[in-house]
């Protein structure tokens, strides 16, 4: 499924990288400004660590399944 073509995992990786960056960015904004969203357990700073997790997963898939990478 990923010989001469782009793997689905690459597409997923790219999307997760972008989502991770956006959500982590919001988490950093919260951290920097101290303005927490009006949600329960906002003090746990879920956007920061969940965004980082998405970013890490996204980077893994993007690099691991990047087009042209030899198997």
């Amino acid at each position: 499924m990923h010989s001469s073509s782009i793997s689905i995992w690459f597409f997923i990786g790219v999307l997760l990288v972008v989502y991770g960056a956006l959500i982590t960015g919001y988490g950093i904004f919260e951290l920097a400004t101290g303005q927490l969203a009006h949600v329960v357990l906002a003090n746990l700073r879920a956007p920061l660590w969940w965004g980082c997790l998405l970013e890490a997963l996204g980077l893994f898939y993007t690099i691991r399944f990047r087009p042209g990478r030899s198997k």
Binding site: M1, I8, F11, V14, Y19, V40, A46, P47
Partner: protein, 595 residues
């Protein structure tokens, strides 16, 4: 479809899906710029995938079967994802809030045994005979008549169900987000038409895998934060017990799967364990997971027999995990959801959650939990997961419709000897036609919502009898063409007859479900069970009076007459039997732990 129907019924709406979709107040969520950007990026990605895959869908094998080159992982995720629609997520979360962990039966006993049975027992026959569809298998085993009947009913019902799903999505978007119905229908259908018509089954499968990742990425945070708030599962049970003791929550056993299944009257669903095990676990579940082409098509696209067998096994692991993002949030909602004044929120049935009442219905529990915990960006991801669920469900319907229309209706009945490119072109147009019919159905349902219930009931009539006939064809060499035809016909008529009997005279439920205490859910299960039994018996009896086909004609179709290809030996951790045993152990452990 199976999930949609079951979720609606399980949630106690007397099978009324329109009622399920009537939310009391709204919109529940207000999206910010970041959330909208997350949603827009998803649409951009699916269109990118569609355009990219256009160049890889030039032959009929590529367009309809994704070139039969999917890995076991991709086929497995797509297989389980095709059933993971957003209505199902919200419906079952609502059922968990109302009935407790009983709702998990539909994910465990109602799915896992059937998925493993498909992979280990049935898949070799589907795969070795190189059929393009389940109706195609019927043609090889029972002849053209059975294929045409099955194909026409499947194609017809698939596009109708696609329209029902589309309307349901638009309704949910309207109530949860305040979006216009027409906007939701047009945008989602254009996106689906574009990427399926461009990339065929491969595009649909890619988007199903993408949807699966998004659902976990968008929804898993809700139960995690919920468990943090309740101090874990033990803390949740303690708070629930305290609420029940104080009368704040209706009394009931919300955390055990089997203890209240001894009698119909002992549980709020009005079901007996025999109905769950034989009706749900065998008749309904096997009917859906092993003969519904919508899901089987995903596994047929695997790149080898081993991958095709492994795909449902991989899917079963994820299916077992889905209750943690669906059932658990519903349960947690029982103790964490609060009104503005800090008092415990009580979700209610649809009849009470009327506009202006200020009350929320059971089915709003998942969006309410998302709004409770998810900050900007994360909320957008959660909503994207719901939209992705709707769209990939629709894509699954139209891609299956396109394949069945082209291979099982157009080719045998209209144009037998066209070039391969012609059939690809027919498939692309069938995709667009399927979307157009779906849009028409969506607007039809919008103007006469009662149709929705009948469409879903109609679909359920065909599933279980088909299982009986396919099983007899696969495992009994003596089954004849006439036996298969009459088994399918009389099994279906039995299902319709039992449904009509209870519809006209609700008291008949005591005979269909074997107890005066049975409720609507039990009727679905026992009706399915009776129709399988009848279809098997009729196939058996009629076949005894006919002449069986010679064994040489049954190679690749029937157990005992098929020489399966030998596969390369692999280490144990790549062997499908090893993972099947692991899946069975986990399945049993979950049932014992939550007994």
């Amino acid at each position: 479809m199976f999930g949609l129907l079951s979720a609606a019924t399980a949630a106690g709406f007397s099978g009324s899906l329109p009622a399920m979709l009537l939310f009391s107040v709204g919109p529940l969520a207000r999206l910010g710029t970041l959330d909208l950007l997350v949603i827009a990026l998803y649409f951009a990605m699916v269109l990118w995938i569609g355009f990219y895959l256009k160049g890889r869908s030039n032959t009929s094998e590529e367009f309809f079967m994704a070139g039969r080159e999917m890995t076991a992982w991709i086929a497995g995720l797509s297989f389980v994802s095709a059933n993971l629609g957003s209505l199902e997520l919200m419906g079952w979360a609502g059922s968990a809030y109302q009935y407790g962990i009983l709702a998990a039966h539909w994910y465990w006993v109602g799915a896992i045994p059937a998925m493993l049975f498909l992979g280990m027992v049935m898949m070799p026959f589907y795969y070795v005979c190189k059929t393009h569809s389940v109706p195609g298998y019927l043609k090889l085993r029972y002849g053209e008549g059975a294929r045409i009947v099955s194909a026409v009913s499947f194609a017809f019902m698939t596009v109708l169900m696609s329209g029902v799903n589309m309307f349901a999505m638009a309704e949910v978007m309207k109530v949860v987000l305040g979006w216009d119905l027409n906007f939701s229908i047009i945008v989602s259908s254009l996106a689906v038409a574009a990427y399926v018509a461009l990339g065929g089954l491969r595009s649909a499968i890619f988007n199903e895998v993408l949807q699966f990742i998004l659902i976990w990425g968008g929804a898993l945070l809700v139960p995690i934060l919920g468990l943090v708030e309740t101090h874990g599962w033990t803390g949740f049970k303690a708070r629930l017990a305290a609420n029940i003791a104080s009368g704040a929550t209706p009394a009931g056993d919300y955390t055990h799967l089997w203890r209240s299944m001894g009698h119909f009257a002992d549980n709020p669903m009005g079901i007996h364990w025999t109905g769950i095990v034989f009706g749900l676990g065998f008749a309904i579940s096997c009917g859906y997971w092993t003969t519904d082409f919508l899901v089987v098509q995903r596994v047929l696209a695997a790149n080898s027999l081993r991958s095709a067998r492994l795909a449902p096994v991989i899917g079963s692991f994820f299916k077992m995990g889905v209750p943690f993002i669906v059932i658990l949030p519903g349960l947690l909602g029982l103790v964490v959801l609060q009104n503005g004044d800090g008092s415990l929120m009580h979700l209610v049935g649809q009849n009470l959650a009327t506009p202006g009442s200020g009350l929320h219905s059971y089915n709003e529990v998942l969006p309410l939990m998302m709004v409770r915990y998810l900050a900007p960006g994360l909320l957008g991801l959660g909503i994207t997961a719901l939209i992705a669920g709707f769209m990939s469900g629709m894509a699954g319907n139209v891609s299956a419709f396109s394949a069945v229309w082209t291979y099982d209706i157009y080719q045998p009945l209209i144009n037998k000897k066209a070039k391969d490119e012609h059939y690809v072109s027919v498939g692309r147009w069938a995709t667009i036609l399927g979307v157009i019919i779906s849009i028409g159905t969506a607007y039809l349902v919008m103007n006469a919502q009662g149709i929705m219930d009948y469409v879903q009931a109609l679909f359920s009539f065909f599933i279980s009898p088909l299982l009986g006939v396919v099983l007899m064809g696969m495992f009994w060499k003596r089954a004849t063409k006439a036996g298969g035809f009459w088994g399918l016909l009389i099994g279906t008529l039995t299902s319709i007859g039992l449904w009509a009997w209870v519809y006209i005279n609700p008291a008949a439920l005591r005979y269909v479900a074997l107890s005066p205490d049975a409720k609507a859910m039990a009727e679905n299960m026992y009706r399915a069970l009776w129709s399988v039994i009848v279809s098997i018996l009729v196939t058996f009896i009629v076949s005894l009076f006919g002449k069986a086909r010679p064994l040489s004609e049954l190679n690749g179709l029937v157990y005992g007459a098929t020489v399966l290809p030998t596969e390369e030996p692999v280490p144990f951790y790549k062997n499908e039997w090893f993972w099947t045993v692991v899946a069975i152990v986990i399945f049993l452990a979950l049932n014992i732990y939550f007994w």
